[in-house]
């Protein structure tokens, strides 16, 4: 049987974490969750996800601080931003580089999320 990919979804809103977890589990992914950058970094000491879905506006560590810490740890897991924060398309292209593989705006469509998570893992 094919091994399920593990996704770590990081969002301060429980409703979003639960909804993403439901959608991805229905699509045969394994899902772990974290409520902010600090708990995400702690979780990464125990698990090795195939992809991280990362909210941009969360209490505690900023996205930049989280990315800096991941770089320090040489953690190159693919990251997809999943956020309400809006940027122009050209700016999103500046953001998507290295292991930052995609930028999804909330609210998202379930099928689109699954498609882009699959694509993100393959990159």
């Amino acid at each position: 049987m094919k091994k399920s990919n593990l996704i770590l979804t990081v969002d301060d809103e429980k409703d979003i974490r639960d909804s993403v977890k439901d959608v991805l589990e229905d699509a045969n992914f394994k899902v772990e969750t974290a409520e902010n950058g600090k708990s995400m970094l702690k979780k990464l000491e125990k698990i090795k996800p195939d992809l991280i879905l990362l909210d941009v506006l969360m209490p505690g560590l900023t996205t930049k601080e989280i990315l800096t810490e991941l770089k320090k740890r040489k953690n190159k897991v693919p990251i997809i931003f999943l956020t309400v924060v809006r940027f122009a398309e050209a700016t999103k292209k500046d953001i998507i580089k290295g292991n930052m593989v995609d930028y999804i705006e909330k609210p998202f469509k379930n099928e689109d999320l699954i498609k882009r998570v699959k694509k993100g893992i393959k990159k």
């Binding site: 301060d12 941009v56 506006l57 969360m58 209490p59 900023t62 996205t63 930049k64 990315l67 931003f81 309400v84 924060v85 809006r86 940027f87 122009a88 050209a90 700016t91 500046d94 953001i95």
Partner: protein, 179 residues
């Protein structure tokens, strides 16, 4: 002109500090319409949840005069280091409320008569209501001392039952609910 438009224009003549309650479902569109109504004034747009590039794109699409706008962008630098822009100051993060206050003080001196803070709802992700109230209180005091400054604060209608809403509601001159 519909009643809401008339009310906004009248309020902006009479009130120095307005709390704008914006419907969560149509937040960005409603706010764009509001800015369009007031774009003859020089506006300093403080964005906590949208990057400068997205705002410029949105305002251009609505034919809002960008010459009258200056931006304080509190979100872009939380992800990456942006290029310098002639009409924008980038703040390191919405957490950096002192940095934001200093940038606003400079712009108040540079005569941007209308300051729009978008939004208190997003500030709540980073700060407790006490810290935000203190910050807003400072802005309101500056606006009251400087007779040329008009301050508009936005909040999502989803946050009407919060402690912050009740604290800010009593500090402002008027609360306007956008449709």
């Amino acid at each position: 002109m519909n009643t809401n438009t008339e009310k906004i224009k009248k309020s902006r003549k009479q009130s120095k500090v307005i709390l704008l309650v914006v419907p969560a479902d149509t937040y960005n569109q409603s706010l764009l319409k509001f800015v369009k109504k007031i774009d003859k004034n020089k506006i300093c747009y403080v964005s906590i949840n949208k990057g400068h590039s997205a705002l410029v794109e949105a305002f251009k699409s609505k034919k809002i005069n960008l010459k009258n706008l200056f931006f304080i962008d509190c979100v872009t630098k939380t992800i990456f280091e942006p290029k310098e822009e002639h009409n924008c100051v980038f703040i390191s993060s919405p957490k950096a409320i002192t940095e934001l206050s200093l940038a606003l003080n400079k712009l108040m001196d540079a005569s941007f008569p209308s300051i729009l803070v978008d939004s208190l709802s997003t500030l709540m992700i980073y700060h407790n209501s006490k810290t935000i109230t203190k910050f807003i209180h400072h802005l309101i005091n500056e606006a009251r001392v400087n007779s040329d400054i008009y301050l508009t604060l936005t909040i999502s209608d989803k946050d009407r039952n919060t402690e912050l809403y009740s604290k800010i509601e009593v500090l402002v001159d008027e609360v306007i609910k956008l449709k």
